[in-house]
């Protein structure tokens, strides 16, 4: 089965260099973080099972670039990119993947449970897809507190077939909550093709069922994501209620680092999507449009390499939690 993006919304944004470079930096940060995590995983040093986000960087980067620090994000099992895009420090995230005490969750959460209150990161999640409900709840809190905060839920095509999707979108719509629902449609949930688990593979079209706007966007075009997310986030911030954005994209690797990801996808399909690399696209487009130069990008590449090396060193050098604290924090107590 050949899969290709049918998304119609290309980028029309008046592009400016600062934004281009910021988006590029985020995408490269995510890419390099993931490649390093993959390397450590395959070296046998990393516990658990990581779900690699490579290929989908434009979604996290494009959406989160429109968010303020005190806005919220709730994420998924494939959440490293969302965490980094929202501002979780790479070393805190890498350490968390290693399960060491210096991780953003003290090593107790691991790859699927990154948490960071300081940047409004309400957690990646081992369950599909309660992040939808958690983000909506954060939006409800913002509405009640009268702030202009917005919450974003990321979830996959697989998640969109789950009952939580229905309950979450319906109620967020009924209450006009400041939430943006971002579906990363990468055509597969584990090895299950989306088209075999639903008769309607156009996730954006499901927004009608909830009386809210639904738009499909090319999830490999970071400027398009940035633009459409910006509109939706702005609408939410102004009390206009939720939007469902379907970002059509693709994961380059298997479902998790242990899955070669080939038995259920053709080589051609994977190759075609690698061609449509969101990082390469931004780079090429921006150079063609004379918005930035090779040198600009190279400088960022170098910078990020250092950040990632430093993060990995930090994570690998950090200790595991001691048994003596293993029973702490089961309950919160004000003394803490």
């Amino acid at each position: 089965m050949k899969r290709s993006s049918t998304a119609k919304n290309g980028s029309k944004l008046k592009q400016d260099k600062k934004i281009v470079l910021a988006l590029y930096r985020k995408m490269v940060l995510i890419r390099e973080f993931e490649m390093k995590a993959k390397e450590i995983f395959h070296s046998g040093k990393m516990p658990g099972f990581i779900h690699i986000y490579v290929g989908e960087e434009a979604v996290a980067a494009g959406v989160c670039a429109q968010l303020h620090q005190d806005d919220y994000v709730a994420s998924t099992h494939r959440g490293h990119g969302h965490a980094l895009a929202k501002g979780v420090a790479p070393r805190d995230a890498m350490a968390e993947l290693m399960g060491v005490v210096t991780g953003c969750s003290g090593g107790r959460g691991g790859t699927m449970h990154l948490y960071d209150p300081e940047v409004g990161f309400l957690g990646s999640n081992g369950v599909v897809p309660p992040g939808i409900l958690i983000a909506a709840g954060a939006g409800l809190s913002a509405q009640l507190r009268g702030t202009s905060q917005v919450a974003v839920a990321f979830f996959g095509d697989g998640g969109s077939n789950n009952g939580a999707f229905h309950e979450g979108l319906n109620l967020a719509a009924a209450w006009d909550l400041p939430v943006v629902f971002v579906c990363e449609n990468n055509f597969y949930a584990t090895e299950m093709p989306f088209s075999e688990t639903t008769k309607n593979t156009n996730v954006a079209s499901r927004a009608k069922a909830y009386g809210i706007p639904g738009i499909q966007v090319d999830g490999n075009d970071v400027m398009a994501v940035y633009e459409k997310a910006g509109e939706a986030i702005q609408r939410a911030r102004e009390g206009g209620g939720p939007t469902l954005i379907e970002c059509v994209t693709y994961r380059w690797f298997g479902h998790h680092a242990g899955d070669p990801g080939v038995s259920y996808r053709t080589k051609e399909e994977v190759a075609e999507w690698k061609e449509r690399d969101p990082i390469g696209k931004l780079r090429n487009d921006s150079i063609a449009a004379r918005l930035a130069t090779e040198t600009d990008f190279q400088r960022i590449d170098e910078e990020i390499k250092d950040v990632i090396e430093e993060s990995a060193d930090f994570a690998l050098a950090s200790p595991l939690e001691a048994d003596s604290t293993a029973l702490d924090h089961v309950f919160y107590s004000p003394a803490e």
Binding site: S105, G123, P130, L133, A136, L171, H329, Y332
Partner: protein
């Protein structure tokens, strides 16, 4: 079944002529109201808890007083209710999520167990989840198979949840106020059959701490540990037993997590006999937990086997005859305790 006022024998509320008497449901409303006045972060969502004031009048007047923003009816979507509650709690609000029927906590089990109970721990203490899930269990008048459950043991099995089961108006108010000042996920599990019962509730503010069982009747021969609606039945049975010369001490657990082990152990040391009366099923229930604790901590204090008196292991029946046969009755409690008094080890 005699419906007596439990508080008359309560150790926490002494009986006076001019004491104020209100219902279990009203006591809950008062507690929630006072805490909502005190803490603007508290809000309340659930099915029918708005203008209607709750299936059981458990939120009566709150919508009228606090308005549509802080007191909101939801669709029939328990997962959303619980999940929104978790999200709002993470963002700094303090939600009350009313599932109304404890049976339907099943629909929200993933959100309660996987999200609410874990996040404080797995975020290494960085987030807290101040969330009160409210739900009423137990059977009344043939509520039948889908509306009579008492799942407290499910929640007591899961670390990170506090579990409250109040038995009197006095306790409802004091415990619900404590729950709303506790910034952990709390399962506040009332009983449908108690909402209309009355008891003394002082006008002055008070809180009841978690983890303190109520030795609601003192006795010498046997310890009856119980909770929820079975407290009154156990007290009635105790009176009956007294007439037969058996002196039963009755302990109302009040909170299952934290559990007041000391109160139980202290009583056993005195009586040497333990009976647990629970409307939930025996298998893997809180009755098993109490028995297991005693079998570990105080087996040398026991003079007889540990007896559990629970709802018999069948689905809840609509049939009025079967229904009342299955749930522990005063008669059954009296009979089983009397039997136990004849046993020795």
């Amino acid at each position: 079944m005699p419906q007596k006022n439990i508080n008359s024998t309560s150790s926490t509320a002494s009986s006076t002529a001019d004491q104020r008497v209100i219902t279990y449901a009203q006591a809950g409303v008062e507690g929630v109201r006072e805490e909502m006045l005190r803490n603007p972060d508290i809000f309340y969502i659930g099915q029918g808890i708005g203008p209607r004031g709750g299936n059981f009048q458990q939120s009566r007047g709150l919508w009228q007083e606090f308005g549509q923003a802080r007191v909101r009816d939801t669709p029939i979507a328990e997962r959303a209710q619980a999940g929104f509650g978790v999200g709002a709690a993470l963002a700094g609000s303090h939600p009350i999520v009313d599932i109304v029927f404890m049976d339907f906590t099943l629909e929200a089990m993933g959100e309660i167990v996987q999200q609410a109970s874990t996040i404080h721990y797995i975020s290494n203490g960085r987030f807290k989840v101040p969330l009160m899930v409210r739900a009423a269990g137990g059977g009344i008048r043939s509520t039948g198979p889908h509306h009579s459950h008492t799942f407290w043991s499910f929640f007591a099995h899961i670390p990170g949840l506090k579990v409250v089961v109040p038995s009197t108006p006095y306790d409802v108010k004091g415990l619900i106020k404590t729950a709303l000042r506790d910034e952990n996920p709390i399962m506040f599990l009332e009983h449908k059959g108690l909402y209309g019962t009355k008891g003394h509730v002082p006008e002055e503010e008070y809180l009841i701490p978690f983890g303190e069982a109520n030795v609601i009747r003192s006795g010498e021969d046997v310890t009856v540990v119980t909770l929820g609606k079975m407290v009154q039945r156990s007290l009635d049975a105790a009176e009956e037993l007294q007439r037969n010369g058996i002196s039963a001490e009755v302990i109302d657990l009040r909170t299952l997590v934290p559990l007041d082990k000391e109160a139980i152990l202290k009583s056993i040391t005195k009586t040497g006999r333990l009976v647990v009366v629970d409307e939930a099923y025996a298998s893997c229930g809180i009755s098993a937990e109490v028995a297991a604790i005693v079998a570990f901590e105080a087996i040398d204090q026991l003079d007889a086997p540990v007896v559990r008196i629970c709802t018999l292991p069948t689905p809840h029946s609509f049939s009025p005859s079967t229904d009342s046969y299955l749930v522990p009755s005063v008669v059954r409690i009296v009979a089983e305790v009397s039997d136990l008094m004849k046993k020795k080890i």
